[in-house]
Assembly symmetry: C2
Homo-oligomer: 572 residues x 2
């Protein structure tokens, strides 16, 4: 790739790269001269088989120290390609060692892979022949010293925190879950649909919405403009009016004097000019600083989209319009809630996976949700075991076991009514819940976790919820009391997935909208899907960050998304 010509074999080369891990070749990264540290240390032999190879390595120093009276330096180097570091040894004859050893220093080096002395932990190390690049660090100023830092502290440095072992492992796990998501749905022939971020629909008033507007910035612009070029005063306008009057009189005089045609025309032209000037001044005199209002309300007719617009709270309703013709679809994107929740489980911006399946009922929905969650768990075990070991070591001893259990265990399926009965039994047996248990309640997190963690000790799908606690679009069951909704509960986080069969019967859904006191008009397009060629369909939503909390055992949702947004904070 060094000569600037590229062939499609690029993709083959990458495959080779992964396979090379078990051969004696060293695979270069594509689009760079370096060899990823992963290609060296993640081999089954720990890299020993590569001894003797000459490679270029780049990365950041995790820990560095000079040894043997400053004759050489030991550097633990990491490039983010895997959790493991490569031990790098630089001789003082090769380079000034002092700039190399501070934590956080970036180096690129050429060297030879060698077997380390017997009895050391690493299976291979790099003897540097040439230092190609140094990005130095002043340890006195670097905000992330070697000492262990709390995740809370790191939230003040979202641009630097992926340099830590924990946040980089989370980044790799998050990447893996995202790609696993696409792989799962693509394998099952679902089409990925980009639902809109800016929306003028409200998904069942799911929560507080952020407004998207240009009115404020335009008002600011106008305000500045009016300071620079003040609007005309009443006197300015009077003067202009006077001019119009004068010019009008001149025209009248010339006409009554039967003056020459060209003179009349000239004076008419002057009159026209003054009239135009007056109109402009009058127009400009109407400009008022501030957000435009009409009939006492903000005039959204003047906003960018000529109406009020918001950030989406869910892509479900829109993706349904694609399911109702493409059959199996999903959306995977950011969603937003403007709630002032300061908890460890809420973000103002978070990612959701929302599949939607046509010609399918609640049972199919449950099958899909279960297959998807188990696929994700197995994927992490297959592709990210080193990062999972790190998580097990540092955050949650049970996280690998949990993935294994979920990947291999059929989910329990119980109706809401059965769930309530089980909870009531538990109460009789002495179990204390903060929230009262009775048919009709929305299950609280403590109830959900009891069912999945204590009662069944595996994932549980609860289905057929009371209609009064669920959204209008969920399909009414024949009992007229419950709807075909289902939630997937898992140990550690409780509700991971919420879904339902959608009400496909026009008359029923229209009545449900009315019964819930919602206006019909905004849902006319949604009703069209039932008016014309309606189809049984169902779908669900998985909170992507919840899945990460479940997988990693990390406690705070702000640490499993690269750039967390919550009340009072939106860094970068």
């Amino acid at each position: 790739m060094a000569d600037g010509s590229v062939s499609l074999s690029g993709q083959l080369a990458a495959t080779t790269l992964h396979e090379a891990v078990s051969s004696s070749e060293v695979a270069k990264a594509e689009f760079s001269d370096r060899v990823p540290i992963r290609s060296v240390v993640s081999r089954p032999d720990g890299g020993a088989g590569l001894a003797g190879h000459r490679v270029r390595i780049g990365g950041w120093v995790k820990t560095g120290r000079k040894a043997d009276k400053d004759a050489f330096a030991f550097l633990e180097l990491n490039d983010g390609s895997c959790p493991a570091n490569l031990q790098v040894i630089v001789d003082a004859s090769v380079s000034d060692l002092s700039p190399l050893v501070p934590t956080g220093t970036c180096i690129a080096v050429d060297g030879v892979l060698k077997l380390p002395p017997a009895g050391t932990k690493q299976k291979v190390e790099l003897r540097v022949e040439k230092v190609v690049h140094v990005g130095p660090v002043d340890p006195a100023k670097y905000p992330l010293p070697k000492t262990r830092l709390t995740l809370e502290f790191l939230r003040d440095f979202v641009h630097l925190r992926p340099r830590t072992n924990t946040i980089s492992a989370v980044a790799r796990l998050r990447n893996a879950l995202a790609y696993a998501t696409h792989t799962f749905f693509q394998k099952h022939r679902f089409l990925y649909v980009h639902t809109p971020i800016i929306t003028t629909s409200d998904c069942e008033g799911a929560g507080e919405m952020f407004q998207v507007t240009t009115l404020i910035s335009e008002a600011d612009k106008l305000e500045k403009d009016l300071i620079k070029n003040p609007p005309p005063s009443a006197a300015d306008i009077e003067a202009a009016q006077l001019l119009v009057k004068e010019k009008g009189e001149v025209v009248a005089q010339l006409k009554s004097a039967k003056a020459k045609k060209e003179d009349i025309n000239a004076s008419v032209a002057e009159l026209k000019k003054e009239k135009e000037n007056l109109a402009k001044l009058e127009e400009r005199s109407k400009l008022k600083p501030g957000i435009p209002r009409k009939d006492g309300k903000i005039d959204y007719g003047l906003d960018f989209f000529a109406r009020q617009a918001f950030l989406t709270v869910s892509g479900q309703l829109q993706v349904e319009s694609y399911a109702c013709c493409l059959s199996s679809v999903y959306t995977f994107g950011p969603t937003f809630r403007a709630e002032h929740s300061h908890t460890s489980r809420h973000l103002a911006e978070f990612w959701m996976v929302e599949p939607e399946i046509a010609f399918a009922e609640l049972k199919d929905d449950m099958n899909c949700a279960e297959a998807y969650v188990r696929f994700l768990c197995q994927w992490l075990l297959d592709n990210c075991f080193d990062d999972m070991e790190f998580m097990a070591d540092k955050f949650d001893k049970t996280c690998i076991e949990r993935l294994r259990m979920v990947a291999s265990t059929p989910f329990e399926r119980i109706s809401y009514t059965e769930a309530v009965e089980l909870l009531e039994e538990a109460v009789k047996g002495g179990r204390k819940f903060e929230n009262k248990v009775e048919w009709g309640i929305d299950l609280a997190s403590e109830h959900e976790r009891y069912l999945t963690e204590v009662k069944f000790q595996k994932p549980v799908i609860v289905y057929n919820y009371p209609k009064d606690i669920k959204a209008f679009y969920m399909r009414l069951n024949d009992d007229s009391k419950t709807v075909a909704a289902m939630d997937v509960l898992v140990p550690k986080v409780g509700e991971l997935i919420g879904g339902s069969q959608r009400e496909e019967r026009y008359d029923v859904i229209q009545q449900r909208i009315k019964d819930m006191g919602l206006p019909i008009e905004p849902y006319e397009w949604y009703l069209d899907l039932r008016r014309y060629g309606t189809v049984k369909h169902c779908g669900f939503g998985l909170g992507f960050e919840r899945m990460l909390l479940f997988a990693t055992g990390i406690e705070n949702i702000r640490d499993v998304i690269p750039f967390p947004r919550y009340p009072g904070r939106a860094d970068l």
Copy 2:
């Protein structure tokens, strides 16, 4: 899957599904009882080998007609799984035929696949034994009759337009390009990073930004509250002040009269109560309807994020913070511009793919961009040939040829200076451009298209642009006149990709920010990436919708995104 138990073999089953296309098995869709029409008609034998199989099929009627004196109906059925329809034949003895034939009707049917009479176009057809579901359509009201509709007309029905051949083909092609994007970068071990949608950074003032706020909705809430519970009047406050004064005097009297302790305490308590009431009234009297202001400006300290926030115009700056520790990363998500562009090439909400590579220079960036674009083209040829044939037939005869050419041809690479020389030569040779050609200009679309369509007739990468027309973060070349930027130009759309090596030198980038008259403070975090362990890195952005225009030959960008947002329009 019908029994509610699911095993991980779900993924295997899906693979089997695709392979089944060439076997004599019929593969059911996962999570539904139906067989996708694709599994029948997209086989090399057109489905003939499946004759005799009993299947359930679901879909929407493209065209339907009764025949043979209403003895049976012919229906062309489509379920979105592929562009081709399945011919379905229903006998009048099986079902009332009238509700089945209108265009747009949804049906699910059980039947037997049969070989059609010799000489017909289709290789297989379905004889219906049972109609399982009908979602009827009133043809008098259905907005999408069988007649060909213009794409412009369809924009008024974004919830129904994916039912048309064109928009459903675009949806499949868009899905394919999205998955190809993930596949390409994952194969090359790039990590997918979710950069934020809500941002408080401005990427080099790339354009007008949408503001994200809760101030307006909170002001609305307050206004309503103040109407319901009007703020206290001056008289209310005076009365409360008087009460405080009186209670104070009582306390003073009791104290000076050396009254009983409990009496004094009681009166002090009353005084306290009145003081609290007064404080509340005073607080409430300060409430003013409208957006809160402070020192003459809007008080963003009271907004959701305690500062002004916007929708991102690019994830580049943020993703750089991940490249500078994880080495190879990319972001793929929605971006926003609040520009009042009413062109066929601009959207207010559009998707961008932005990779970023550490330990890499401009040449690596070009290699990556070229490999990626060629991979996308080859992917469509390999995976969506039927949809591409539809596009070639209906929109752009050359679109398949274009994909083949790009997939197989090394891109031309010329410097900006060479590009300008070539354009000047063209002018001398009689070529007319609307925009003047001279060193220092930003190449206009007509220049770009001349280079790629006329001069080279293949993709062209132009690199090393004048620094004055490019962003501050692009790496200054040794000539101090140009920066290490590169644009990929392709036939049909011109600029498809823009990228650059990033300036990694702290002093140089700081000076560039100052020279461009930008404030330093908002970029301090970005400078940190250069302050601590800086690394050579580069990246680019591909406008995802532009890639779709390039691939499909469709003219208007509003037709290649499911829910287009542009000035005055944000349906759903």
